[in-house]
Symmetry: C2
């Protein structure tokens, strides 16, 4: 199908589904989940073609692993949809309703955004995850997945569309752009007439390309150069635990800690303990001069570049500061507005850090790894926003909605 | 000053002012208001240069009128700032705070966006209005006004900066881009490193140019192809009043009615009355075939183009439909997602219209002219958003803020 045709079908579908009731949506999600499991052999066969192409094309083992689908992964995708069915439906909530002096009653009603475009790379599970969240929040989704996963995505979308049809719901709730031509992707990013929001999910390069080319509103997600500041009053044991957890519990995620900022007055007490613990996980430590002086053998020099780097790897940078103000300035200059933490026993410094750090999530005495839809109690997330408009931090179902003012009058004129 | 220098100064200023308390901000707003009045002769002299250039350049009377500043208009600008001082400070509000199962306490704190860029045309009063709203909400503002008003804007910004200095507040809370080079404007639209939000205020052309060029998040404002649907059950008298008010009360505004959609069953009863009333204001009426048949002499033919047109003039289009569903489809196809109204006595049709119309503001039995920050009770507005992300409809102080998650832990790791 041509891009424009997909857009038109999506707009038509969105008007059909925006007022589906919660039971209808939940029922469809469960039916789609069952269909994925029932058709798993078809999906796995299609995935095998992508895997074969990937192997022939010299794809790395890590990317091949992300691309791979098997019975258990398809069951997980299905479970994900069933979990979304259990989440509260955000659509229809009415907020701030009040009567104006002239007698008009005004309120804000939560409504779907309309059509959401998702651009992603070779993770076929995103196909069903994104569908589930968009559908439950009353949105139509148009997907542009990575060309490496095209056969897998086609197979998954086919199953979802067929299952929707069986529920009497238009299959155009989900569409896949099958062309793998880059020009088509750029055209997709300019379809303001049909698409209300574009969410790129993937590498920093993908996000930048989307921002540069899109004329549709974009939500930037998932770049995290996250810091932990160990204040001079920190509980050393707690600080070491938090740093090790935030750095090593999962290495390739956007809420992992990439940089350690340490108050000079606690450096000698804290750093050797932290270095010892990090070394057990083979973390490479790149520090400034003062840090190196404390832990000579275990730290290599950090460049200014390091302090801007999201490693997504067993590497961490260390910066020494003389005050909390210096720490805050350093972090606000180098961070990506994702998640930042202070470890402190000082009441005023805890509050100052919460006040002055510019990030989606600011922590006192906890690991940055908690920045996550599940952990925040949203159940699931479509991504973690690092921009300031519309939604910040983990984006759940509510963040996939907007509102409209509804006004009940009785003939008022101005 | 170079653009980059302005950007850097703005970012430095934003960290300084984001935690000013409400009294400090209100006090400064009042001092700035007083300074504008005290320095009105300087501002008027500068404005005279712009007026002279405008007259020599063949500027229309309407635009010259927008450009003109006199004692009374400057006093109005000052009053506007004092009114903003009286509005509630949105910054600092904490929402949805709760304890998670692991003991962490999570909440959303309302914070300023940071740096807001405003691009506007030859309305020098926007200079102080935009400053007032941005400053009260804790934001720094960078202004790019129309080249026709450059001398006026320079004079106003100079007065504001000096008054801020006298209050001990950094003058970089407001900056004006003085270059009138278009390339500089385009560069401004790509300053993601420094600017969090861009709001174009002005013509559809300005807004489109901003959307096409900006890599910064943009809020689209103020294009309003607003409809009134007169249902078959409408109170004819009420319908005529609402249509006349929405079309003629103020002609050049985005919430004026541009198109009338009439149910066939009430056409003969309603349309002659409406036409008669509109003709008293010399409104030109462009209708479809059925409308023309009812009011032969007073209606000229409408083209499909007419139904997409925001006239901002004494012109209205008329479309006849056979059902509320047809009306909804027509409106959703042609509107700009601004404000739409139904006039009806039918309970189910009122609800259907509220449910199915996609617009920032959906009215039952009231004029579209109420879509306005003052009328909605926000006190003032920076514009009326016609997009769906972040804010919809009139944008007041709250809509110039974002939130950050603040998390109080006690050593939690994942």
């Amino acid at each position: 199908m041509e891009l424009k045709e997909i857009g038109k079908a999506a707009v038509a579908a969105r008007y059909k589904i925006e007022n589906l009731n919660t039971n209808e949506k939940n029922n469809a999600l469960i039916k789609v989940a069952e269909a994925l499991v029932e058709n798993s052999s078809d999906i796995i066969s299609a995935n095998e073609i992508d895997m074969e192409n990937g192997r022939n094309g010299g794809m790395t083992a890590a990317i091949l692993d992300r691309l791979k689908l098997d019975e258990s992964r398809i069951r997980n995708m299905a479970e994900g949809l069933k979990k979304v069915a259990l989440l509260e439906d955000p659509v229809g909530e009415v907020m701030d309703m009040s009567k104006r002096p002239n007698g008009m009653v005004i309120g804000k009603r939560r409504v779907p955004l309309g059509v959401v475009g998702i651009i992603y790379e070779a993770r076929p599970n995103v196909t069903s995850d994104a569908f589930g969240l968009c559908f439950k929040s009353g949105n139509v989704v148009i997907l542009k997945g990575g060309s490496d996963a095209i056969n897998s995505n086609k197979a998954i979308v086919k199953v979802i569309r067929e299952a929707l049809c069986k529920c009497g719901i238009t299959p155009d709730c989900i569409s896949l752009i099958e062309s793998t031509d880059r020009a088509v992707t750029v055209e997709f990013m300019k379809m303001n007439e049909y698409i209300d929001l574009l969410i790129p999910r993937g590498s920093a390069g993908l996000i930048k390309a989307t921002l540069d080319n899109s004329t549709i509103p974009v939500i930037e997600t998932g770049t995290g150069n996250c810091h932990i500041f160990v204040d001079k009053s920190a509980d050393v044991n707690m600080a070491v635990n938090i740093v090790v957890n935030a750095k090593t519990q999962r290495i390739g995620v956007c809420n992992a800690c990439e940089s350690l900022v340490v108050h000079r007055d606690i450096l000698k007490e804290f750093l050797p303990e932290a270095v010892k613990a990090l070394k057990e996980y083979n973390v490479e430590i790149r520090g400034d001069k003062e840090a190196m002086e404390v832990c000579m053998e275990d730290i290599i020099p950090a460049s200014e570049e390091d302090f801007y780097t999201e490693y997504l790897d067993y590497i961490i940078s260390v910066k020494t500061v003389g005050s909390i103000d210096e720490a805050i300035e350093h972090i606000n200059k180098h961070n990506t507005k994702h998640s930042e933490a202070i470890v402190t026993e000082d009441y005023n410094n805890a509050n100052k850090f919460l006040d002055k750090i510019d990030a989606a999530c600011v922590y006192v005495n906890a690991s940055t790894r908690f920045t996550d839809g599940e952990e925040f109690g949203f159940g699931a997330e479509i991504g973690i926003s690092t921009q300031k408009l519309h939604a910040r931090g983990p984006m759940g179902l509510k963040e996939l909605t907007t509102y409209k003012y509804i006004i009940y009058g009785s003939g008022q004129i101005r």
